[in-house]
Symmetry: C2
Subunit: 699 residues, 2 copies
């Protein structure tokens, strides 16, 4: 590994998201032990003062200096303090507040000014991202920043139902969200696989509806307080009426088909079922669904919504409403008779009826209702927020329910998660270039939410799955529409990843831990060069492969410990190699050539050593064929470099052989992973950089 | 790094602690997707069933298999299940219960039998440690184990006052304690630097007595429940009367000198103080101390003890009582007058009076009082547990207050933490060979506690500081006195470290994260070979160096981010090298020689590259002189190997030069670290293994 490090040149600070206005002035403000904060703010601002203390302690730790302040309080008002903070007004976190701030750093000090608490929190995060070091120590670049977000709603949805995510994962995720200026956490608290919050009103929900893993109400309150302190609101989703298998374990009377039920994947019939499913059979299957015709159903929901509306103070309440195919309803004669009696033409009308009943309850408890886009209908009340998730034209099976423009024109507010699904294993630029996100300004365009579903993710890889890619989505939602340079985004994204590591996020450690575990005590240095250029198959290929093989793979206890589960979705090693290919093909830069050669030789030898490195290790053997491909492709790459340098063209025969090896590698999906550097080797072969694809198939 | 891996031969399972009786039978029980648990137990055992579920899920994750059970319940009783569990009786965690179990693994299945819940928990931990893998997959070795502990009290004390440790660190530590069969967690909740638990009775204790970091009562309850589920009790320590600066911030009337006070190191006078202290001045200083002469003091303590005795259900309550030099009392005329009036001859008598008053309150609330050994006195009630921590004869400044035998003979129970202080940076064998731990059986010898103080530790390195060394202490307290082979212990300790990593402990990740952060984005592979053979200075050298320089270094917010803070206390690379030196000097084994040569060459080149690797990095430069030493010593080592092979003796001149380089390296304490491989290089030079020292100086 020695010598392989590419020390990127000193760069502008890796801010993410980019501020709306920034001017770097070329100087440096140096930190030393005497670094001090002074504040002018509402002395009762119980969000601001702890945030200042945290920021101060974080800078203290990262610099290894010995600052003198212990805890920033109203007594901290020295006019000679290096960092002057002025905040006009104390506010609570909310969507739509003024979030602007001004941050000025000169060679003699730092000043942060904000209209209110929320702007100040953002400014503190920007300041922390500005910390850099050189041989003389730590400094902030001198800069003038005026910053304000593009969208008021910069959210993240986390599914804790399929695989539960415990408190420490949730809290670290909140820290990371705050670091990239996200302000809304949407927790998908219930699904077929689990009901994940304690209900005192209906205790069988969490007791029988989970495998024992759920948030207590105390924990929810702790999480909300933790998020509040970081400028983030938390709202719950209870996914109705079609993702409720777990509810029926304790309350089978809610279901439109008799039980008994146990929590588990939607299409699970028998826990020992290994019969293969098909996509068609899944879509047409009578999955467990709430009975919307009984008044007792609404009485139950009233009791639950009342309890949960009080537990979650945020003004939003998500009822799901997605993916109900109506088959369970059609299979129930009483429901069909009821529909006829009520003159409901079809199950869509019945779903609209159900939604309208939920709406009344949500409203009664003072909340704004949100639902996935399937709840959209002409009669939908205007104060319901429509949460887009479908993406027409990418080969999806389900059709979108109106475009953002159509929904907004109708008078409903729109939240966008289409093409923001992190669990689709897409590279960050796909989310960054999200074609569904409207470019024009419209008060009904609230913003969006990155979404992490957990059929094939759990506490051991959730941070690795969400980060750093969510930072690219955060930037898309915060920064001006003009901030769109993908190369620039990536150069900051990799540094943001290391910054989040420094701040305590466990995404890098999750990879390292899993690699150590998979290596079973062997030296990870032997397998790392191969593994680090593998990436999980894009789209839902892995999910569908697992689902159609057996429902046992997506049980809420099923492990996610294959090589494909532990890999980052994007390979930084591949990114760096690609940059060198690009530079070399453009400029013939000898340093880039040297690095490429070193990398190719390293891959070739790692490929040759892989077999003995994994001897006796069945799980790492799963991707051994990719190691073989990597060796062959490295040889092709080295040969291509020789020919490029010598100006000696390929004979058609050679090209054919080499192209065949590339094609073979491209078809190799062993272990549900792919070798990421195939386009770069092919670029060397073709002496022209192959651009990244604009879209990537989900299937 | 390629090729440097030493693949240790397949070994017996790395059990830690070793069972009291074990017979390996040479076969293998293979796990597959069909692995199932069946239980016969009290259906109301709400500790056992969740523990079975956790064990099952942990095995599921570690094997990457797809087990079919979701959650182990009373319905799981199939007689054909692979793993049969029988537990006679449900019990709550406690000290002194029967903790025995029998674990039998044959080629056809696993059976665990225990008298009660606690034995079953231990058996489940043993089973998890037995998991091994080969090219065919995962297996348990066939074995008969009958196991029971040597001491009933196998504890750990964690100081959360000096630097606060948040919930996730505490919970992971509880998991690791359970993994090595520790059963008591003692939380040092208050000290001069902080009061770390919410008090509803006296809220200024945590509000003014901390930097905002403390456990809420909800969190304490959650922690206790988490520990209970793992067979561990938690009891609190409130360190009185001499470690109470933090209390006085909110309640200065408790102090024997007027305030105002702010939480901070005991000998802090001014937060900006940089005047150097000396050990003598520290020992003679009037540190803040409770006024024991006022009745209002005891009224306050009654209120607090009442609240905390209810919060912590365990039957023990620790009042500290250590390190009170009485100077603050002597400086207060009113206290001196009161002593004269009460005919108390000296401050020791006044301390005994204070202890007796505390005893009455603790007893009133139904608890057994524990105190550090300074509370020992002839009149101490027999139901007080004396907690030994001083170690006579190691150069300590304070004299021990009776030997275990003397205390036990007097009728008091004894807990041992002498020579179990993990924060003394001692290698594991020093704790393992603890000379203070009585070898004979006596019902008054309860056992002991590993202790981690946090003047120079915090959430970012606490796991690295405690583990894996605490596992050696756990073995000392659990396994028979005959289990004492240090080599065997180490061979299991390193594997236990990786096992704890696999179970979720963050000790390895803490090192890796800190190394990445210190490397500031540079390739850690460039600095790792040097850093991984450095170890922190042994004893209290670092603490004293910091304390006597300025109190600012041990503020509760001061960072622990020097190289010396992030290093494991013992170097595994050094251990492996030492093993090779030992083998080679004994047997001239060519494989050992080859590995040593490869290691020495690698060190030499890493040494040569260190300067450029850390260019621009002031913090890694702190240990650059050790890199230079490592290079010179590697050359000496290679030369010694050549001479050993050729049988060519050193000339006296050469030896003198090489010895001088070794001596220079030995004196190098730059960055408060030492190069760990000096004895091994010297062993090669002298052609004879230099044994590990029996004792290591604290100063």
């Amino acid at each position: 590994m020695l010598g392989l490090a590419i020390n990127l040149p000193a760069q502008s600070p890796a801010l993410m998201p980019m501020p709306s206005d920034m001017k770097l002035n070329g100087g440096r403000y140096r930190l030393d032990d005497g670094f001090r904060i002074a504040v002018k703010a509402d002395p009762k601002d119980d969000i601001l003062y702890p945030a200042l203390t945290r920021t101060y302690q974080s800078l203290n730790r990262r610099t290894g200096l010995y600052f003198h302040q212990q805890r920033i309080t109203t007594a901290d008002n020295r006019s000679d303090a290096s960092f002057q903070v002025t905040v006009s007004k104390k506010v609570e976190p909310s969507v739509g507040a003024n979030e602007s701030y001004t941050l000025t750093i000169t060679e003699s000090g730092v000043s942060l000014n904000a209209m209110n608490t929320l702007g100040a929190l953002h400014g503190l995060e920007t300041l922390q991202q500005l910390l850099q070091s050189d041989s003389a120590g730590y400094y902030f670049p001198t800069v003038n920043i005026q910053d304000t977000p593009r969208f008021p709603w910069r959210g993240m949805m986390v599914d804790v139902a399929r695989h539960f995510l415990p408190m420490d994962v949730m809290l670290r995720n909140i820290d990371a969200m705050a670091a990239v200026k996200m302000n809304v956490l949407h927790i998908h608290l219930s699904d077929d696989e689990g009901f994940r919050v304690e209900s005192k009103t209906y205790p069988l929900l969490h007791q029988k509806g989970s495998n024992g893993e759920y948030f207590t109400q105390d924990q929810i309150r702790e999480m909300i307080a933790y998020a509040r302190a970081r400028g983030i609101i938390i709202y719950p989703e209870f996914d109705l009426p079609g993702h409720c298998r777990s509810w029926f374990a304790g309350y089978p009377e809610l279901a439109s088909a008799p039980g008994p039920y146990v929590p588990g994947p939607r299409f699970l019939i028998d826990p020992d079922d290994k019969k293969p499913l098909t996509i068609a059979s899944i879509l047409a299957s009578p999955s467990p669904t709430i009975d919307p015709t009984k008044e007792s159903t609404y009485k139950f929901l009233d009791g639950l919504f009342k309890e949960m509306a009080a537990l979650f103070p945020a003004p939003y309440f998500h009822i799901g409403a997605d993916e109900n195919n109506g088959v369970a309803w059609k299979n129930n004669a009483a429901i069909v008779a009821w529909m006829e009696q009520k003159k409901l033409a079809n199950t869509s009308a019945l779903q609209a009826y159900f939604v309208s009943r939920c709406y009344a309850i949500v409203k009664k408890y003072g909340k704004t209702m949100i639902g996935w886009e399937e709840l959209n209908s002409p009669d939908l009340p205007k104060d319901v927020i429509v949460h887009k998730w479908l993406a027409d034209g990418d080969g999806g099976f389900l059709k979108a329910h109106g475009t953002p423009a159509e929904i907004a024109a109708k008078g409903n507010k729109v939240l966008m998660s289409s093409s923001f699904y992190l669990d689709h294993f897409m590279p960050a630029y796909i989310h960054y270039n999200n074609p569904y996100l409207p470019k024009e300004i419209n008060p009904n365009y609230l913003g969006g939410e990155a979404a992490q579903w957990t059929e094939v993710a759990d506490r051991y890889n959730a941070e690795l799955r969400i980060w750093p890619r969510a930072a690219a989505i955060a930037e898309r939602l915060w920064s001006p529409v003009t901030v769109k340079d993908v190369d620039d985004m990536y150069s900051r994204l990799w540094r943001t990843s290391r910054y989040l590591d420094e701040r305590g996020l466990q995404h890098l450690n999750q990879y390292e831990t899993a690699l150590r575990n998979l290596s079973r005590g062997a030296n990870t240095a032997l397998v790392r060069p191969v593994v680090e250029v593998l990436t999980p198959l894009r789209g839902v290929k892995k999910l569908i492969a697992k689902m159609t093989k057996s429902s046992v793979y997506s049980l809420p206890s099923s492990p996610n410990q294959q090589v494909s589960d532990i890999l980052p979705v994007e390979s930084e090693a591949r990114y760096r190699f690609r940059k060198d290919v690009e530079v070399y093909l453009t400029t013939k830069d000898p340093a880039a050539e040297a690095r490429m050669r070193q990398q190719l030789v390293s891959w070739r030898s790692a490929s040759a050593a892989y077999g003995s490195a994994i001897a006796g290790n069945a799980r790492l053997a799963e991707v051994a064929s990719h190691a073989t491909d990597l060796g062959q492709l490295s040889t092709i790459g080295l040969d291509a470099l020789d020919r490029l340098k010598a100006g000696s063209p390929y004979r058609a025969d050679d090209l054919k052989t080499e192209q065949a090896l590339l094609d073979k590698a491209r078809k190799n999906t062993a272990g549900e992973v792919e070798l990421s550097v195939i386009p770069e080797i092919e670029s060397l072969l073709k002496q022209k950089l192959i651009p990244e694809p604009k879209t990537i198939s989900m299937f």
